[in-house]
Symmetry: none
DNA sequence: AATGAATGAGTGTTCATTCAT
DNA sequence: AATGAATGAACACTCATTCAT
């Protein structure tokens, strides 16, 4: 292993499936979907090229499964965080951002692959993934709506604010280095503040 | 042509060079660098496969030239806008954002290719491009520094604010549709407000 | 099932063996020996790929067994018909042709596979099958010889006549449709007349 | 070259095209369409695998071209022979059969491939080839019709006679050996007699 | 500049067959 | 018998690039 982060797909039940999925994630992360070959994946997974096809019927489906796992985990983290947060929009937004940033940092490669390679999915798989991603974004949009209704957020551009916030956080995956200036927690705190400021929240300080 | 936007590379001097560059931009935009073939580029350029190599020595260098043109244009627009703006950080930031958003909208494909395919450049070309991109980001960072010094911006996270702002704007390329809810100008205005809010500017309204 | 005809291999004794043989016949019939895969056969047989090898040691041997069953049945039908016919060459030829045509119509796919795919057998199996086929042809050649000796047939090319007759009948498998212009019986009658005419039989009418 | 017969496709104009077509004919003849690989064809043609695709876009289209050449030549020979023959159906049939047999003997492999591998063509190519083949068979059917009308042929099964005759001749390709009992000319003569006998021609002797 | 022909390495995928259970 | 996992070789086809003209 050459990343400090835990594997995206845990080894529950069918072992090789998880091994292959993690290998695919790594390969797609390193070279992109079209740049990585099934031979690369097989090598990283420690199995033969043809055996891959006993688990996934095509390279494209393999990507789809990788991305599904990543988005499932991201959405679950965000929902859990929001459920555990206070009732006001400000704290809920803060916790949602923290959770999201945490995932981006923990699963940096998955996040990168998720944003860069979705376009190479087959139409059906892409639609499914986009829907899942939208449902994660919806969580943020609902918080924005709540905060605007309650007067906590004063931005006149509420409709697009969630997307703007998430765009910035997604991009973290493309520059974050674990040994950077800010710790994982500081980064999360910073992004939460950016988000609340962007929303023109009252007294975020 | 199937896009309303003007070609990225104008037809000056060596004619076919511009044709090929624009064809490459389109091909890389549609299928990604590794997904598009030199045959695709040749077909879009209306020339033969082998003739491509009379203009560019390799696929990778072709990408490098496409990206260089895109970033040159982006940087020029931003610098011009800042030069034409007022003296205070708030108006300079607003104009810089407007110009940047304008480029993303006008050259959506170029922006997409620029963010998604840089990684496939050869090390030297990539370094050059990153440097160029950083120099554009520097313009924003200087404005942030000016605003913080003057007391216009109160964000405690000034060091990363420029990057956060640009991340959000870059992402526009991945979802913008010319027939969307907001006009080009409204979008620019919205993004400027997001930026100033994120910077916790005084009275940005 | 999507053919009206009875299965070639009856379900006696080891049940799955017959199922597999009939599946193989269907697969080879649809796609040819090299075009059909063992996976195709397994799917049609409703069993697993690897289980095929508990019954037949190789794809080639599977083909050999299919063809053996087909030729056994064909030869048996022809011999029975000749045994049941009158003593003169003319009626024996007529009944032999009728029986042969009957088999081609009843087991059209088996006949097609038998003629088209023999070449893909291993040398030993091929030799065995050719021998069996020759022994069926011998029945016809003996009748021709009898008819020439008795003066019933006046063809000057007796040596090759049996093969010429059978070639025409074999080809029926490649164009026959159950809903065609001629009924099974009419077709048999027609072919019998062609055969006797070709032999320049006296008064075949 | 390892056959005595002249190449099916003559070397006019684009040289490599003819070389590849003849190589493909040989490969398909030896191993069947699905049994022969493009590498086999390339090896026989003395070129590289990938260069094949500069001439033919797919294996299937390569087969289509091979078969088209074969059927063109066959049809041309038959038509020429009929045009040069006398006016009565008997002599026209005799010459048509002679020409057809001549082609089968001269281009034995082409004939074999033509009958055995048509099924592997893409639907459109197959339809085109079947149409071409039918048009050759039509020549025979017209002669049969003429002979029946003129009273030369007395068969009561005129409608299917042409097909029966051609089936027998086609089959020659699967057993003919140049060093066999009958010479090329004798074989043609024999088949002509079979044909006229089958048609129950008056005094074909 | 411009082309068509050529190439060797590589692509995703399927193959017949074997193995462990 | 029966299965799912595994494998190495092969498949048709495409790749970026080069060469001769």
């Amino acid at each position: 292993m050459n990343t400090r982060s835990a594997a995206l797909v845990p080894d529950t039940g069918r072992r090789n499936e998880a091994v292959i999925l993690n290998a695919a994630l790594e390969a797609f992360g390193r070279k992109g979907f079209n740049g990585a070959s099934m031979r690369d994946v097989a090598k990283l997974a420690g199995t033969s090229l043809s055996n891959l096809y006993n688990y996934f019927p095509s390279k494209s489906r393999l990507l789809a499964e990788v991305l599904r796992h990543a988005n499932d985990e991201l959405r679950a983290r965000v929902r859990r965080a929001v459920a555990d947060a206070g009732d006001d929009a400000t704290s809920r937004m803060r916790e949602a951002v923290r959770a999201y940033v945490g995932f981006v940092v923990d699963q940096q490669v998955a996040m990168l692959v998720s944003t860069n390679e979705v376009r190479y999915l087959e139409p059906d798989d892409r639609a499914a993934l986009v829907a899942e991603r939208d449902s994660t974004q919806d969580v943020f949009e609902e918080i924005v709506a709540q905060g605007v209704a309650s007067g906590e957020f004063r931005t006149p551009y509420a409709a697009d604010a969630a997307r703007a916030i998430l765009s910035g956080i997604n991009a973290i995956a493309s520059w974050y280095r674990p040994d950077g200036r800010l710790s994982r927690g500081q980064l999360a705190e910073q992004q939460a503040r950016y988000a609340l400021a962007l929303l023109e929240a009252r007294l975020p300080h």
